[in-house]
Symmetry: C2
Subunit: 444 residues, 2 copies
């Protein structure tokens, strides 16, 4: 057997870091369920032809999957899914007769991409998606609702200040039309690079590429530079003097979103008119999310509206969805030291042993404590008490339970305090019952 | 795009069935954590050479994984894991310096096997494993503890009567030695077929293959036919008159297990001396679990002790583990109609709309209800009330919330009862708050 070596791009957590990831996943799932999203899971593989050229990330490298024992041409060509949208679209088509539309689903699963691994870019990672899909028509109000679900989840998580940036396809689309621009997608692609290459290079490319006049390029840039945490962006756009009915529609929609955002999630959403995330793929609102002060890391949660999530030739299914990059987010907060697990095990109480013969009695005590929801384990061996306490301490278990001649006692090994305790009634403080996420002071 | 067709062996649940699976996974996870097992997840892929010839199921067909864009020989040959034991062994070796031993871990993940699909045999399925691994030596008491954890989990799940069958390697081993049998593994392999081919064929094969005398073969059969729900199996074995110190050790160990089982999980464990599950792989206790009355479906939860889970040449890591076949179990109970989800969405309350203009107010009501842990969604459109109620009914949502001139009211759409309700205080009955698993009468 060869030596064990990590695989680049396939991160694995130690138990205390996994506890942090689990807490994130629990809060995300709980929030999605409170908002009425139903869970589904799709298989890890799809036919390669379904993966190719589908979805926002269609240029992502696909992992092919094949039985090693298969004869060539034995099976259909399969690949691991690279996002959760493409398999969801297939699921909707496959089960449309058994689903009730509009269908709200969440999906938390691993995805795989054969990209070159780097910080925040993995070959295997976890995404948490919500989508609302309808048959035929999808009302606009879902585009207002979706970022509020994300804001609700994030506001319950121990993460640094963040900003959900929102734009809508109709604003640049209508604005460019009003300016007489023909190559709308080409212009969007250049504007999308604004944060990376700066306004001068964007102006240069707008004039050289799609051949915009200097004044038109300037107007395009002015639009891209508008942002506001309320509905005031609309006035700024109108002040630029461009007129188009599609622009009016876009401004009206983004105003609705920002108005609802300011009521339900004040300060968390920003109307940001340079956000161009796959605007040739999305057809309405688009969302991106950045950690404030860590914008260079890129978006940790993105999505948008697409008029045709899926289509079977007869029926078209429009949808709106957002995907949280859970691995991206959690590994960033762990690697920068902002968060850590308060212990490396669920165990709150270690039952110490005076002698191996006491194990049966210790197991009875454990059953009593567990019946009231307290995670417990019995010591591995009747070693010296110092060794048993060290075993608890090394994993962050806060309490050690002892049997003494006068009854049982429990020691808080952090303070050293030891008190009499009845296994039928004793309960640890609520904050010690389960592992917590500890945050550094900068994040409190 | 080609037509959408299901992939044989890759089952997917509709939302209401997924709710059943989720409840099972939640109970299993909660039980594992109450017993102090820490969660880890390992990557889906391992080097093919690590998968080949490793683990109890080493003959299982492996799915190879390869970037479609890779040049030949570009990457190490990778395969999808076919169980959670082989990757866990690798994880222990890779992170041994950062783990505290004995290390108790649980792992709930998908695994993949390129087998021919059939009822209960899938190409992608979920397993839930617990293992305790130590460095150097692993105390026997963990072999007593592990099946009690499973019994605890299963006793909280809505499953039909089950039986955890236990045997220990030392019993047949010592018994066969006492009989002077040399080809112990060969005899075990034949005895393992007892349920399938019956005692006559087993006797025939024992005499023709390993060349046992008729009397020796009869003794082997007598041992295999012994089972008891308490420690009385030991007397039955001793009555056969065979003597060997390894047999004595085996009887002593299985007696300890059955004594603990009868205290903590009376009636759930059976000492069954024909259980030979991979006895050439396991080195101590072995476990299998069957649904009573559905034995032909095979084991839904199996495992055992292995002296060398992993080894890096210097240190050996013995372990004991059990794996619940969650997909096998859940799909069986769903397909036989024993269980179903009480609804197809987490939503407990649908907020009806009098008019689209009331959506902002409805969203405020939803926020109030959610803040107290009630899953809520707002109606898709201000359709006629009958249509809005039907939308709730089709997904099993029990309550619809109305705004009337005199205040808000909530209707239980099952009984038709409608009462005044304050969004700041109203709570549904506990049994309606979250989707439940409904069981058929035969299972109550």
């Amino acid at each position: 057997m060869s030596k064990v070596t990590p695989l680049s791009g396939f991160p694995e957590f130690l138990p205390s870091d996994r506890i942090v990831e689990q807490k994130f996943l629990d809060v995300i799932r709980e929030t999605f369920e409170l908002h009425g999203f139903a869970s589904i899971e799709t298989r890890a593989v799809e036919p390669v032809e379904r993966l190719s050229n589908q979805g926002e990330d269609a240029d992502k490298e696909i992992y092919g999957v094949r039985r090693l024992a298969a004869d060539s041409g034995d099976d259909a060509a399969l690949g691991l899914h690279f996002d959760l949208t493409v398999p969801f679209a297939r699921y909707v088509l496959e089960h449309s007769g058994k689903l009730v539309f509009p269908f709200r689903r969440y999906q938390i699963q691993k995805v795989w991409r054969g990209e070159r691994p780097q910080e925040g870019r993995y070959r295997e990672f976890t995404q948490a998606d919500i989508d609302i899909v309808d048959s035929g028509e999808l009302p606009f109000h879902y585009e207002v609702e979706l970022p509020l679900v994300i804001a609700d989840a994030f506001s319950k998580l121990p993460i640094p200040p963040f900003r959900i940036q929102v734009n809508t396809r109709q604003i640049p689309d209508g604005f460019y039309r009003g300016l007489g621009i023909e190559d709308i997608t080409g212009v969007l692609r250049i504007v999308d690079k604004l944060d990376k290459i700066g306004p001068d290079k964007v102006t240069e490319q707008l004039t050289s590429g799609p051949g915009l006049s200097a004044e038109t390029a300037k107007q395009v840039l002015r639009l891209a530079e508008i942002s506001s945490i309320d509905a005031s962006f609309a006035e700024q756009v109108r002040a630029l003097g461009v007129q188009h009915e599609v622009l009016d529609e876009g401004l009206e929609r983004l105003t609705q979103i920002m108005t609802a955002a300011n009521e339900h999630a004040p300060g968390l959403l920003v109307a940001d008119l340079k956000i161009a995330r796959g605007l040739d793929y999305y057809t309405g609102t688009v969302y991106e999310t950045q950690l404030i002060g860590d914008e260079g890391y890129g978006s940790i949660c993105s999505g948008g509206r697409y008029d045709s999530l899926a289509s079977d030739g007869k029926t078209t299914y429009p949808g709106v969805g957002i995907s949280i990059g859970v691995s991206r987010l959690v590994t960033r907060l762990l690697s920068t030291g902002l968060l850590k697990g308060s212990r490396s095990t669920p165990t709150a109480v270690l039952i110490a042993l005076n002698a191996e013969e006491d194990r049966a009695e210790a197991m009875r005590t454990a059953v009593q404590l567990r019946s009231r929801g307290i995670p417990v384990e019995v010591a591995p061996a009747a070693a010296k008490f110092g060794k048993q306490i060290r075993f608890a301490d090394r994993r962050g278990i806060p309490f050690v339970w002892f049997s003494t001649e006068s009854g049982s006692e429990v020691k808080d090994i952090r303070s050293g305090e030891q008190v009499a305790a009845d296994p039928a009634t004793w309960t640890p403080p609520a904050e010690d019952l389960r592992p917590r996420i500890d945050t550094t002071q900068e994040n409190q």
